[in-house]
Every structure is written in structure tokens, then in C-alpha cells.
Amino acid sequence: MAVQIETLRGRSGLAAAAGAALILLILVPGYFETYQVQLLTFGLIAALAALGFNLLLGYTGLLSFGHSAYFGVGAYALAFVVQYLGPHSMEFYLLFGIPVVAITSALFGYICVRHTRIFFGILTLAISQVIYSLALKLYWVTGGSDGLRVPRPALLFGALSFSGPSGFQQFITSYYYYVLAIFVVCVLLMWVIVHSPFGKALQGIRDNEVRARFLGMRIRRFRWIAFLVSGTFTGVAGILWVPLEGLATPDVLYWTFSGEIVFTALLGGFRNFTGPIVGGIVFTYLKSYAVATTVYWQLLLGIVLVTLVLVLPTGIVGAISLAGRRLRQRRASP
């Protein structure tokens, strides 16, 4: 009973912190210029991609080097709808895109989860590169390296459309709230998943596969479902990303983009639920300012990554949690 009360207290604290963060996020467009709102929207999308990715790395113990595939498939699914089907409604894009990324993740996941460790990583990388090559070479369908242009879609079943001189600014503000709403729903969903029996089972499989097998768990099936959910979340991020970027290009399918997703999870801390969220937002700002500051921005990001692994192996959130724990222990000791 005492433990349950402790858990409830912990969850109340978490809910209060999440509520405060949400209020701050809601207030952002009122206090910051359009560019900052746009950047934060990109940050939320990166956070969502990393959140999906981390179900595999942090909770299942599988390091995917090919999550750009699911992000990219989401992005291209939307671009294909725009190009070949017509209705410029974001809800239609989501309704079409989510099943596409789910099916793609299920198919590729079925192949990849037959292996673990480096073999799993290489399989995910290889598959993502196949998709990249297809996007590049089937240029009469995909637009090749030029990609496919995606105009600003209407939101809320056509209730909000954006044209005219102030259209861009209105779109950025509205789309920010749109992405924020989906982001909140996805975070809640993922939180329930990782705290569900399924989430606990994944953590068990991550820590001790043999024991999990001797509890009667079908390990491959669990990993496959985790892959499907993970890829779908990252794919939703891809769908949300295209209208903001205005273009779906093969760059989002390239392996370096998968590397960025891994980077964001490491940056925030893949052993914490909130780590990838923080990592996604911080990475977006870091990259944006690095690109604006120096032509050697990749070198700068590389230095950050090396420093991070050496100094903060548990990431930003992991380091903050550790510092907080030590502070509480110091206060508690006489």
C-alpha cells in the first residue's frame, strides 16, 4: 500500500510537471516570433520521432539505424496523397499516412526482429537505404532528388485554410497548436504503453531474454509489435514534418537522418521516458544554431556527441535525474 501511495505521489508530481510544461508550450506563440514557433514545431516533431525510436532502444534494447525509413515513408505517403489523390486536408493525410507507416513498419519489422544486436542494426540500416535508393531512382514517381512539393494543407477538416499575405504566419501558429495536440496525445499513448504489461515485458526482454522466454513470452512477437509501434510513431512525425518543410526529399530517408534520431535519443537520455522528448527539442535548436553559426556545423555536432557520450552517458535528463537524486540524498542525510 505504501508503495502504491509513493507511486501515486510520483505520478502526481510528473503530471504537475507535464501540465506546467504544456501551459508554457501553449503560451509560446503569444510571446515569440514566427521563426521561433516554427523551430519549436520542428523540435516537437523531432521529439515525437525520437519517442517512437526509443521504444526500441530504451525499452526493448534494439538499436535501429534505419528509423529514417519510417519517418520518410510517412513524409512521402503525405506527398503522394498531395500529388496523386488531391484533398488538401491534414486529417486526410493522417488517415492515409498512419496505416501506410504501420504496414511498412510491420513488414520491415518482421524481417529485422529475426536478429538482435549488430545484425538488427545492420538490417534496419540496409532496409532504410533500399527505401532511400527507391526514392532517389524512381524519380518519375518520387521527384528524385528534387522531391515532391507539399503546399500548406487545410486543418480541422477544412475549417482552417491558409492563403493570402498573412497565410504563412497564420499557418505556423495554427500548425504549431495542431502538432502540439498530436504530440500530447502521442506522449500520453506512449506513456501508457511503456507502463503497461506489454511495456514491462519489453523491459524484461531487454534485460534478460532467457528468463523472459522461460516465463512463456514469445520474444520475437513482442519485439515485432514494439517495432510496429515504434515505426508508426516515427512515421507520424514524418507526416507532420512535411507540411512544415513544404517538401519531401530523399534526404529524410538517408542514413544520416537515422543517425540524427539516434543522436536525439542519446542527447536527452534513452533510459528515461522524457529523455528523447528533451533530446528532440534540444537537438533541433542545436542544429539550427550550429548551421547558422558555422559551415563546420557537422564538426560542432560531432564534438557535442563525443562530449555527451564521455561526460553525460545518461543524457541531459539522466544527468538531471542523477543530480536530483544526489541532492535529495544529501538533504535526507543528517
Binding site: P197, F198, Q203, D207, R213, F222
Partner: protein
């Protein structure tokens, strides 16, 4: 009543015959100890029965059903569970979660992802009950990796026991703990297992423990059976004494 039997069960590792045509029988409700020196084939036999290894030849019959080619999951569903020689837990999960995962898995609830694990009242009640039986209820929130060795051994058995098996294999449940803890662990395990009417097969090296807790003792030597009997019969067996004292076997 026979619960498990193996028929001419064989397993070779290279030229070594770890199990050499074993005809092993376990009766329902008994507390059986499997003893023998290192390399006698005890763990291999348990690994074969629990599907951790596949036999080269022979048959495994459990509850009148041939399970020789059944998967681990199918054998667990049939009622076979095991603990491990080296404690095998989910160290980054709490003591409660370790046992709860067993219950979720047994109930087919482990794939549920739309509800919180700690909100399932039935699983919570049962997990706490099992932890209470093994004297671990007060440790429910502790990470399994932070437990003392004796507690880890108990939790290892509790996790297997929570599967509600009909036949439970315990691979050296008292290895690596003090003499005092050995008695505590075996008292607890024996009382829970007998109370739950679970048939148990224990691999054990400590003969004091074996003689004190077993209904029947089977001694293995070089992949075969050397002796089979009650503790008194085994105590009086000169071949067993020879093995235990390192002396040559009688002709």
C-alpha cells in the same frame, strides 16, 4: 502417479555423453533431489526437459503427453517451470514487477498495452501473495538488482513459482549463500512448494540439505543414473558414498 518420464533420453556435447539414455521418472507431489558431481549431467537433464536444449534422441512424456518437440512456451503452458543455477532476474525492474510479469505472462495479459500494469488488481493481489509466501513482500519496490544474494535466490524461485507450475525445477537454489541462509531458503521453498502441492525437482550439492528436505534422491554420474531411493537408502548406498568421498565405485 507418474507426472514426468523420459525414455532413453540422450544428449552429447562432442564426444561427451552428458545424458546417456536416461529413463527418469518424477512422481506427482514428490520433492525430489537430483545430485551428483560437477559434469554428471544434472543441469543438462533439466535443460532438456525445460526445452533449453533439444535432445539428440529419446522421448519426454509429461502428464501422459509427448512433449519432446514442444516449445518452451508450450511446456510452460503444460505446467513445467524452472529457476536457474545463476540467478536470472530482470534486474532493472522492481521485485514486484519480476513476479507480476510471471503472472501477466501466465494469464496471457503480457501483450496488453492499453492499461497500466500496476492497475490490474488481480495480478497485483496475486503477485503480493506470492512475494509474501517467499518473505519478500516488504521488498516489492526494491530493484531486483539491489537485493542481497539470498533474497535474489528466493525471488528467482518466486518468479518461477508464480507461473503456477505442476512441476518446478530448481537448479541449485542455495548455491552462493551462507549455511544459515541455505536453511532459511530451503525452509521457505520447501514449505511453499509443498503447501502449493507442486512437484519439485531440486539440483543440489549440499548433501545435508538434500537429506533433510527430499522425499526421494536420484544420483547422477557421467550422464547416467547411479542411485535412486529415499534419503535413508541413498545414505546407505556404498556407490554414493564412494562418489561423495571421491573413492572408486564398487564392482
Amino acid at each position: 502417479m507418474i507426472l514426468l518420464k523420459t525414455v532413453d533420453l540422450c544428449k552429447k556435447f562432442g564426444e561427451t555423453r552428458a545424458c546417456d539414455g536416461l529413463n527418469f521418472v518424477v512422481h506427482k507431489g514428490e520433492f525430489l533431489s537430483l545430485v551428483g558431481s560437477n559434469g554428471a549431467g544434472k543441469t543438462t537433464l533439466v535443460n532438456l526437459i525445460s526445452a533449453h536444449l533439444q535432445p539428440d534422441s529419446g522421448q519426454i512424456i509429461f502428464a501422459d503427453r509427448d512433449i519432446t518437440f514442444a516449445t518452451v512456451t508450450e511446456r510452460i503452458k503444460a505446467g513445467i517451470a524452472r529457476s536457474f543455477q545463476i540467478v536470472s532476474l530482470f534486474d532493472a525492474l522492481s521485485v514486484f514487477d519480476n513476479v507480476a510479469l510471471s503472472v501477466f505472462s501466465r494469464e496471457g495479459k503480457a501483450v496488453r498495452m492499453a492499461s497500466l500494469a500496476d492497475r490490474d488488481a488481480d495480478v497485483r493481489r496475486e503477485s503480493l501473495e506470492v512475494l509474501g509466501q517467499f518473505g519478500l513482500a516488504s521488498k516489492e519496490a526494491v530493484m531486483a538488482g539491489d537485493l542481497a544474494q539470498g533474497e535474489r535466490k528466493l525471488l528467482d524461485v518466486a518468479v518461477a513459482y508464480a507461473l503456477r507450475p505442476r512441476l518446478l525445477f530448481l537448479d541449485e537454489p542455495t548455491s552462493g549463500v551462507s549455511t544459515h541462509e541455505k536453511a532459511q531458503i530451503m525452509d521457505t521453498v520447501s514449505s511453499v512448494v509443498r503447501g502449493g502441492q507442486v512437484t519439485a525437482v531440486v539440483i543440489e550439492h549440499d548433501m545435508d540439505v538434500v537429506f533433510r528436505y527430499s522425499d526421494r534422491i536420484v544420483m547422477m554420474h557421467e550422464g547416467g543414473f547411479l542411485a535412486d531411493g529415499t534419503p535413508d537408502e541413498i545414505r546407505a548406498n556404498p556407490d554414493v558414498a564412494s562418489i561423495l568421498l571421491g573413492a572408486p565405485l564398487s564392482a
